[in-house]
Amino acid sequence: MDSAAELRLLAGRRLRGPLGFNLFTAIALGIGGFFLGAYLGGQIAVGKHYLLATDQNDVGVFMGFLFATIGWFGGLGFFNYPVSRVLGRAAALPHEEARGVGRYFRLSTDHKVIGIQYFFGVGAFFFIGGLNAMLIRTELLTPNERAWPAGQYISLVGLHGTMMIMMTSAFILGPFGNYLVPLMIGARRMAFPRIEALTFWLTPLAGLVLMSAIAWNGFPTGWTGYAPLADQARSGMDAYIWAFLLIGISLCLNGLNLMTTILTQRAPGMTWPRLPIFVWGVFSTSILMVLAAPVLIAALLMGMIDRSANTSFYIASGGGSPYLYENLFWFFGHPEVYILALPGFGIVLEILPVFARKPLWGYRLAVAGMFGVTLLSFFVWQHHLFVSGINGGLRPFYMLTTELISIPTGFIFLNAMGTIWRGKIRYTVPMLFSLAFFFNFLIGGLSGVFLSDVPSDVTTHGSYFVMAHFHYTIMGGLVFAFFAATYYWLPKMTGVMFNERLAKIHFWTAFVFFNLTFFPLFAAGFLDMPRRVSTYAPSLQTLNDFVSASAFCLGASMLVFVVNLIYSLVFARVPAPQNPWHSRALEWQVPTPVPVHNFDEVPEITGYPYDYGVPGAPPVARLRPAEG
């Protein structure tokens, strides 16, 4: 058919080389778009005093980012489909999908390609953020400014925070959510493959936009972007706002896609009690993403027009309130913490039964725990604002809800305790990371109890205690779960086994130095060291030097991982067996590497995924129901 051929030509699937729709075109059009937009924005602002009430042109910068975004997605070929729909051309899915390494650098609607893209994408941002952390710890070797000027230090703090929380929001959901959810529920694809591609490609664009802040000497607000400071900041703040905006859209769409997939694409027989626990984790997280991210988007848009169009949502002297931003931001910000943590719960509970050779203990309790956290996380946000002077009378309520959230979190610990009881535990690397997750999360969670109690929080709020607390939950929880998942599933995703010796070195150094880095910081917080400072009391220097030394070792430990990844993927290439861990789960029953359609026929789910040692348990699925 004519229009189909036309579409194919449009979509550039026949085009090869730098001229097609791919990453290089996207970067070129993005940069061109930025300068075009900045020029147009400058023209708009000319003569309009209220647009130019500053010595800098934020209208131009935002217009630049808008056009850069359009150029980027045009270059990747994202507009081909909507344009053809609006013009009434073919509306079906593209009929074919490219293969080969090149597909990782262009628009692909295959969830497995997107999973790998996400893995390397967020991995890159994680390492940039880690590098920032090393630079921060270098400064903190001495109590006075030595290594970096104050302005550079504050940008490093901002970039570290945004790289780690904003850019890697999809740290687990991106790579493993996209790759594994269809495989785990017996689907051939995600519900919205194009939206899935969009959620990924928003991420590197946001990363590039964020890093462009360096051209304006960064932004001074840390990852929270608190309003009066953000209104005062120079154009680096525009990059922060636009990047977070893109990530917010990405989060919202990712949640929408994952939830729709889980609701509609389950294979026959995949009833709710048979759903793998990781999928439950993704499902509960999706609720948070769909509902919390729009509030962030709105908050950032208000900040954007405050900076560019002279409104005063957050400017007290203009009739606004900085509290408005704090409320809106933390209404998103606290669920965001659970967007990071809940998939981690899912991953460790998925891995524990496999290596304990036992059914998951208390499956319903785990699901209840995840949904309990999801529900409660919408009602706790003001615990970030206990001393801010907002609603002093409501503090007991938020104290209660915050402490209540430890009940569902406690369920997850009980699941782990029950699952290892009377098991046959094999200490593989994924298992080690999963167990370390519980150790770290225990400390992180219990230190949160201090912060939830208002009298205690008055001591610890805004200090290194808070910093140690959330590094224990996010770095010690989420990142350890990410590495557990990486060592566990990458053999399936890449078809290559990791070098186990390097992996064990990575685990033990990461675990030891992680705790040596962050545990002393609880003490630093108790001893009156505020967050985000480049100078501190000289009496704390020994403590800080010890922390910095441990942090450098932790950084080196992450390099072991990179070495292992490159060595195993490029040089050694030990082929992975189909099911190296002897798992019952559905994703391990398909061949390695995973076929293009995941399943040749739609499988029929016949059993529970965790029935290890259950006499007479049926296999989890029949992959060829027609023959069986």
Binding site: A53, T54, D55, V157, P220, G222, Y226, A227, L229, D231, Q232, A233, A316, S317, S321, P322, A356, R357, K358, P359, W361, G362, F386, S388, G389, G392, G393, R395, P396, M399, E403, S406, I407, L414, G418, I420, W421, R422, I425, R426, L435, L446, D453, V454, P455, S456, D457, V458, T459, H461, F526, L527, D528, P530, R531, R532, T535, Y612, G613, P615
Partner: protein, 273 residues
């Protein structure tokens, strides 16, 4: 299972009194004010409550990870237990009771016994000390990157140093001229955000003479770490002579100061840095 419980009981019986009696007195922020004591007590209680939880999990995992390790290379399955309803119920009841207890105790100390525990309560505080009407009023003004203080009871004199009389109620009115700061008098146990356009009230009752450090606990830009001062708790007579000397020294500057107000709105914050 019994062995774990015995280990846990022993650890708890030894550990909790050690925490309360030995570690507790050293927990921050000390006992310079009534509010600081309340926070130290809160920190002690929190540590004492979470210690048994840590002991239980460490004992449990320590035992289980050794006792239930796989021996040999043959792949064996563990016992197919899917759950145990009584355990789950007990766990739910115990965690809920602990959490509700902590929340009730926290709310009680916050509002009734600790009078807001030194935290910023906003313009309309609900946790008030008994004789708050006679409290010394001190306005704390944060700006990039310094703290200044005004004493409305003493002709609104503005000082660059903070002295407080011992054994009297002090009512801090924390506000900001530019961005959000957070007034943190560490040893006094006071922390209150300084937000432009907001009068954030916190109470403190100093009990001991001495020096306390003042920091900014909310990122406020380039020199956030440099918003560092010290203040002193002095006797009532020393305070009276200090404030008189300040009024004299600042008399010239005082003529050009903005009249005292709960909040200040300088020129609308222009966005340029």
């Amino acid at each position: 299972m019994r062995r774990i419980l015995v280990v846990w009981l022993v650890l708890t019986v030894i550990g909790v009194p050690l925490i309360v009696l030995v570690l507790g007195p050293h927990l921050p922020p000390g006992h310079m004010s009534a509010e600081a004591s309340d926070q130290t007590n809160a920190n002690t209680v929190m540590t004492a409550v979470i210690a048994p939880i840590v002991f239980l999990l460490v004992a449990y995992f320590g035992y289980a990870l050794v006792a239930f390790r796989a021996r040999g290379d043959v792949l064996e399955d563990g016992a197919p237990i899917r759950g145990h309803a009584p355990t789950q119920t007990v766990w739910l009841v115990v965690t809920t009771a602990t959490v509700l207890g902590l929340a009730a105790w926290g709310s009680y100390t916050l509002i009734v016994s600790a009078h807001g525990a030194g935290g910023g309560q906003g313009p309309n505080p609900i946790a008030l000390p008994a004789n708050y009407k006679s409290a010394l009023q001190v306005q704390v003004i944060g700006q990039q990157w310094n703290w200044t203080y005004r004493f409305p009871g003493y002709g609104s004199v503005e000082t660059e140093h903070l002295d407080l009389p011992v054994d009297s109620d002090v009512e801090f009115h924390v506000t900001s001229l530019d961005v959000t700061h957070s007034f943190w008098a560490y040893q006094l146990g006071v922390k209150a955000d300084a937000v432009p356009g907001v009068d954030n009230i916190a109470f403190v009752h100093p009990r001991k003479l001495g020096t306390f450090s003042i920091r900014c606990a909310e990122l406020c830009g380039l020199w956030h770490g440099h918003m560092f001062q010290t203040g002193d708790v002095v006797s009532a007579t020393a305070f009276a002579s200090w404030i008189a000397a300040q009024k004299k020294a600042e008399a010239f500057n005082q003529k050009y100061l903005t009249p005292y107000a709960r909040q200040y709105f300088p020129e609308p914050q222009r966005r340029a840095g």
